[in-house]
């Protein structure tokens, strides 16, 4: 029971971090970044290469953060900036193209076979005490890391000027600009934080599953993307809750379904998603209010 709860909380935490990364960028750019999972994949490859060459762990982690954040900024400069103001479907498909591109590069460079990344292997050990046997240290670390990151982000958004700018930009980008918020600075910061979170997620995921391949984190990203929309992308906290909830749901389904049905976890999760979207299309956690006229 405790194991189920902790596993659910851990997956929910990781998904919440990813949801924040996707939600922050959506807030300022109105762009759903399908390539987010490939950022995490790139970070995982950095860790795998590090352990292949026997680099010290802190160097591997540093390289991982550098690559993920660098790629994330590069994406903003090369793609998001020229496409700013394009139609949502164009932007979405453009991030599809980048996801496809990064995945193909990984396939070309590293091949389809798994590379194993040994990073902080001691974190995978179970916490040794009776009934907690199968609770691994990384489960607890993931939850704590997520809480720390979310608290830091909340403080940044609530207490600093740049946080205020970012919140203003998410609420109404044009008005915020007219009032003196510098668009490029706010967007760059959002992309930077989003990249930082992707790097954190990549370290956590690699510790949990050290086998890195070109589709690493792809399924997680799809589930989180679905989760943020179900939660409500218009606000950061609803998107985060959406990511957390879908992580918890996925984990509970995985633990509780009998082994014959366990392969259908995705169907159960996605079925639930469709149900929620039909009942609350504006987002599961969006505040209740009279529904307006549908806008195209």
């Amino acid at each position: 029971m405790l194991q189920t709860v902790l596993n659910a909380l851990a997956l929910g935490s990781v998904y919440a971090l990813m949801a924040v990364g996707i939600g922050l960028v959506f807030g300022v750019l109105r762009l759903v970044n399908f390539a987010y999972g490939q950022l995490i994949m790139a970070g995982a490859y950095a860790l795998a290469i590090g352990s292949e060459h026997g680099w010290p762990q802190w160097v591997s982690v540093l390289v991982c953060f550098g690559i993920v954040i660098g790629l994330s900024l590069l994406m903003e400069l090369a793609l998001f900036r020229p496409l700013r103001g394009a139609s949502p479907s164009t932007m979405l498909v453009a991030t599809f193209a980048i996801a496809f591109l990064l995945q193909s590069i990984a396939l070309l460079k590293f091949g389809p076979l798994v590379k194993s990344a040994v990073i902080f292997p001691s974190l995978f050990d179970p916490i040794a005490s009776g009934e907690f046997e199968t609770v691994r240290k990384i489960t607890v670390v993931a939850i704590v890391a997520a809480i720390l990151a979310l608290v830091a982000l909340t403080l940044l958004l609530a207490k600093t000027t740049v946080g205020l700018h970012m919140r203003a930009a998410s609420a109404d980008f044009r008005t915020a600009r007219a009032l003196g918020v510098r668009a490029n600075a706010v967007i760059t910061l959002a992309v930077l934080i989003s990249g930082f979170l992707a790097a954190v997620v990549s370290v956590i995921l690699v510790v949990e599953n050290p086998f890195v391949e070109p589709h690493f984190a792809l399924r997680d990203t799809i589930i989180v993307l679905v989760g943020v929309v179900v939660g409500g992308l218009d606000r950061l906290w609803t998107a985060t809750l959406g990511g957390f909830t879908i992580g918890v749901a996925t984990s509970v389904f995985t633990d509780q379904l009998s082994s014959a049905h366990a392969v259908y976890v995705d169907s159960f999760v996605f079925g639930l998603v469709i149900l929620v979207l039909l009942l609350r299309p504006e987002g599961l956690f969006a505040p209740f209010r009279a529904r307006g006229v549908e806008r195209a």
């Binding site: 793609l79 949502p88 496809f100 193909s104 590069i105 929309v229 392969v263 995705d266 806008r295 195209a296």
Partner: protein
């Protein structure tokens, strides 16, 4: 719109695919396969266009209809004796019957339509991002079930021994059918009502257009086309796995549509042909070719990387697609009004 305009609207895409098929008939046997796959892509992308282009709602779920069409058409054309041997778990109705090529395509189209109708019934109430994600969830479920449920298909293994009947002729006829259906739809009353709702949902509702039922009609029809295209696909490839009709194909066909121009039939056809052509060229280049005195010899797997770069580049340079770049804000159909209408 004059009579001539309407004919041109269908004739130009039709001639384009006919030209491609004709070109394919002159190439070597080894190169012909690229032309066949291009024609199948045209059929799929036109199926996508019929819904996405006319409704303005992005759908990630259409490859589910391609998938069920492909698996159904594939299963039903494998001979009964072979099926009993390789797929003993199938439901008896699937295992003990077998149909011909054309019947299997019609079956795929019919099943695609029914599947799309049942899904669309609740889902077409959604719009915007919620609709896109809900259709994505449908794709996820379809893939998950096809991958694991061995009573309706091969599960995680490949379905093989499918007759390869989609040659250039069948590919061409299939693509032309898709184009004519999409054309007839967009000129019909239903097509116009749906596009009216795309341009201004509130105004369309105010004059009595039921957005839900108009979208449902388009979704069902495009489900039929996609199921049909799935049948073409499986008879082109001769073998299929669930991964063949999942994320990569979804991405590729959507990119074709957006690169060509979401809002026009011509865009769908041009996008499908251009990207297929580029992919074919790059794949060939991995084997080494000579172009204008240059020897090009790419590393295996490079074609995917170059394809990704080109697609991103086209989207940055022509956000409204190659055919629609002049109307950057609202994608309109490719045909422009006569000059005097603009003053």
């Amino acid at each position: 719109m004059t009579y001539v305009d309407r004919i041109v609207q269908v004739a130009v895409p039709g001639l384009l695919v006919s030209g491609v098929a004709l070109l394919g008939s002159f190439t070597t046997r080894a190169n012909e396969i690229h032309f066949r796959v291009a024609l199948v892509h045209v059929a799929i992308v036109v199926g996508l266009y019929l819904f996405i282009g006319n409704s303005g709602v992005l759908s990630f779920g259409h490859i589910s209809f391609v998938a069920v069409g492909a698996f159904l058409a594939g299963l039903m054309t494998i001979s009964v004796g072979v099926k009993r041997g390789i797929l003993p778990d199938l439901f008896p109705v699937l295992r003990n019957h077998s149909v011909g090529n054309v019947e299997s395509l019609l079956l795929a189209a019919a099943f695609g339509a029914v599947f799309a109708f049942l899904i669309g019934l609740p889902l077409m109430r959604l719009s915007g991002l919620a609709a896109g994600i809900a259709t994505f969830a449908v794709l996820g479920i379809t893939h998950n079930v096809l991958f694991n449920y061995t009573k309706i298909g091969p599960g995680a293994t490949a379905l093989t021994n499918i007759p390869e009947t989609t040659g250039l002729l069948q590919g061409l006829v299939g693509a032309l059918i898709a184009i004519v259906v999409a054309w007839a739809y967009q000129l019909s009353r239903f097509g116009r009502l749906l596009r009216a709702s795309r341009e201004d949902a509130a105004a369309a509702q105010a004059v009595g257009v039921s957005i839900h039922s108009q979208r449902l009609i388009a979704f069902t029809l495009s489900g039929a086309l996609c199921g049909f295209a799935g049948g073409l696909y499986v008879h082109y490839a001769g073998t299929i796995t669930t991964e063949d009709v999942y994320l990569d194909l979804t991405f590729l066909t959507l990119a074709m549509l957006v690169v060509g121009g979401v809002g026009s039939l011509l865009g769908a056809v041009v996008g499908a042909l251009l990207i297929s052509g580029l992919d074919a060229f790059l794949t060939t280049a991995e084997g080494g070719i000579h172009v204008a005195g240059w020897k090009i010899d790419l590393q295996d797997g490079t074609h995917l990387v170059v394809l990704g770069i080109v697609m991103a580049l086209v989207l940055v340079l022509y956000p409204a697609g190659i055919t629609g770049s002049r109307e950057a804000r609202i994608p309109r159909r490719w045909r422009r009004r006569p000059a005097e209408a603009e003053g």
